[in-house]
Symmetry: none
Subunit: 220 residues, 4 copies
DNA sequence: GATGAATGAGGCTTCATTCAT
DNA sequence: TATGAATGAAGCCTCATTCAT
């Protein structure tokens, strides 16, 4: 008996299971938005339930409490960005192009996922205690570090890149340049009285960052 | 007249004023610590009073409410860093040295004032609404931008620096490289399983950042 | 036909019934423990299901709600003690020995069934409303009262017992002396700083109670 | 300046202090009633506030949480009964009269303070953990034990009492006989179909208990 | 200036119970 | 018979804030 043949019938077992999964995802997405907008302390369980369109009690059914929910949101966010990173085929590009692509990817991902930045902030405000409790923390290690190491090594062997560059340091610098600009965007705008998110400003920022990275890495 | 000589007497007017000032500073310092550790949402007025060793009611007496108090803390923090920046006499140094000095200063200030980073995060989580409400926001404009502009211009005229460098972009990059490393220190440590705050690691980070900035700015 | 020989077959009707009975007993035992440990207000339906290793919904299937379940537990407990009492063949003993045996039985039963004491407490906290609702309340009348009446009468006729002893009053006194000692054991221990449940202490208590009862009943 | 001279004046400092005290007593009394009627698990903080006519928050201001409040109620109840016991001048009476007076006092106190019985039950349901946490538990030791010891010794020396009676055992028996009758009154009434609290029934119970105690203690 | 007492709103969480197979 | 998913009501407790000297 296929699904189409049952009319007015109750969902089959497999479907009910999927309902549970769907509820969990819905909650997770709602929580992600709430936490991103208001931080762990400012988030409200009531509002998360409302955003999810589900009963508040269900949140506790699937995720024990607020802290656990936050941890689940964090893990999901990490899984998401790592998934995106895996699709970056940097090793097919020439070293300099690969670096440009990496800078651009980081920049675009942060731009498209502003919630990732605030979640990261919240996590660090709480001293990453949520990550430490996560057994999966290590799995969250970015594949980019290894890719970056290979790119740098290849560039050095080609003679175009300088040697002695620590890939982790460079990765952090690349991330930091995008991150600070976007994360502190409001403060910077207020202080400098300049909109930093116009199309032009964004293009200029990206160009600047590429220039910095390549200026550093490229052999004079 | 020392205080000990007056028995059962009410404090003199001037002394009362000094007490008032001292109370305010005490509250501000306590609030800064609390906000830095727990964010705006996680901070507790009770705890701030306790940290200050003063009655909670007094906080409301001096600072209308929690938001206003947070704003006051933010402004004070900005005043503090701007004050420190004013003592940086970069223009006395040669351009390359001035840049190194600027990177080092930023790095050291963030290291020594971790609360500044978390306050900044909190402010940005709330979209800098506290800054916008502050009449003094513009006064918070860093003098460093102007200094940096002059340094870059001088280096360019000397022929050692490349041209076309936007001082604001560079300033943000410098700040971002330190900021991300320190602010996300916990997350990074958890993920990469590497203590990023040992003396050696700190030295390496500083060297890396100087290399990046100078690598970018110096004419090949 | 053993169960193992039927593969993928639905259980036979008789077996289903046995399962049903077993489930009900399991629930009842789990509920008894939970109620005994935590009282009616402190007991949790979730925990009862967990203790029983059965789905919570099943509890509602067999016992309408928490109150009804409590009532069922109470009735079962009464049935249990009445059953034990029925095996006491006091009338075969001489009057004084029969009294000693009764005191000892009461004491031992309470010692061995501490849950009975707390259930009784809970029932009385709720003014025995669960008993009043029970159609079987009267059936719970202890056969001991009648036995005790006969013992007292026989002792009196023999000339060894005093007359005018109300069997119900004596029954309550016997029960009360054991009950208070055991039920308030924790409080008494805390206050008097003396472990009341060592083997020696228990023996002393039993001796004391027999002395009291016989001292009262025996003709000088 | 006496109180009467101030009209329309705000309460003086000493009075405000008393307000705090009064609030605490009011809460304590309301809590005692609620706990007595419904047990620890069944009591509701909301209802306690309502009974006290005070803001619920104030309960938490003075008594950290429900458990602490319960502990405070327990301690107060013990203080009350110990206070009453102190006014019993048993040593002025002849030994047999002193015993009768003690039985009567216990019976009357329990009759007049039914909440004491249920509080005791609740405390024991929770294994007296609230008492153990109380630093004052030992102070709650009844002065009656010592008095009873003296009465028994005096009776023995006079030749009217038997020897070898443990005052603690006797105290527990006296308390238990009253306690069980009253505490399980509802259950007993339901089972035996007999109202145990009529004036006549109460008189009979008291007579019975005196008979038991004296029958035991008096030398044949 | 300083403080202990008091409060209303709301937050997180738990509970008994029902739904829908 | 048995069960995982879902829910509304309510419970304990906390929070920022105000009252009343």
């Amino acid at each position: 008996m296929t699904r189409g043949t049952r009319l007015h019938a109750a969902p089959a077992a497999e479907e009910r299971v999927r309902d549970a999964d769907r509820s969990q995802s819905t909650i997770l997405a709602a929580a992600r938005d709430e936490f991103a907008e208001l931080g762990l302390g400012g988030a409200r369980m009531d509002r998360i339930a409302e955003r999810a369109g589900l009963n508040k009690r269900l949140i506790y059914y699937y995720f024990q409490d607020k802290e656990t929910l936050f941890q689940a949101v964090l893990e999901q966010s990490y899984r998401d960005i790592r998934e995106a990173e895996r699709h970056l085929n940097l090793l097919e590009l020439r070293p300099a192009d690969a670096l440009r692509r990496l800078v651009e990817f980081t920049w675009s991902y942060y731009l498209d996922h502003p919630e990732f930045l605030t979640l990261l902030n919240s996590a660090n405000l709480h001293k990453a205690r949520h990550l430490e409790q996560s057994r999966r923390a290590r799995e969250l290690n970015s594949p980019l570090i290894e890719m970056l190491a290979q790119i740098l090594e290849r560039g050095r062997r080609e003679g175009s890149f300088r040697g002695g560059v620590d890939p982790l340091q460079l990765y952090i610098s690349i991330a930091g340049m995008s991150y600070f600009y976007l994360s502190n965007n409001h403060t910077l705008s207020a202080i400098f009285g300049r909109d930093l998110l116009t199309a032009k400003a964004r293009q200029e920022r990206l160009t600047h960052m590429c220039d910095v990275v390549l200026g550093y890495v490229l052999r004079g």
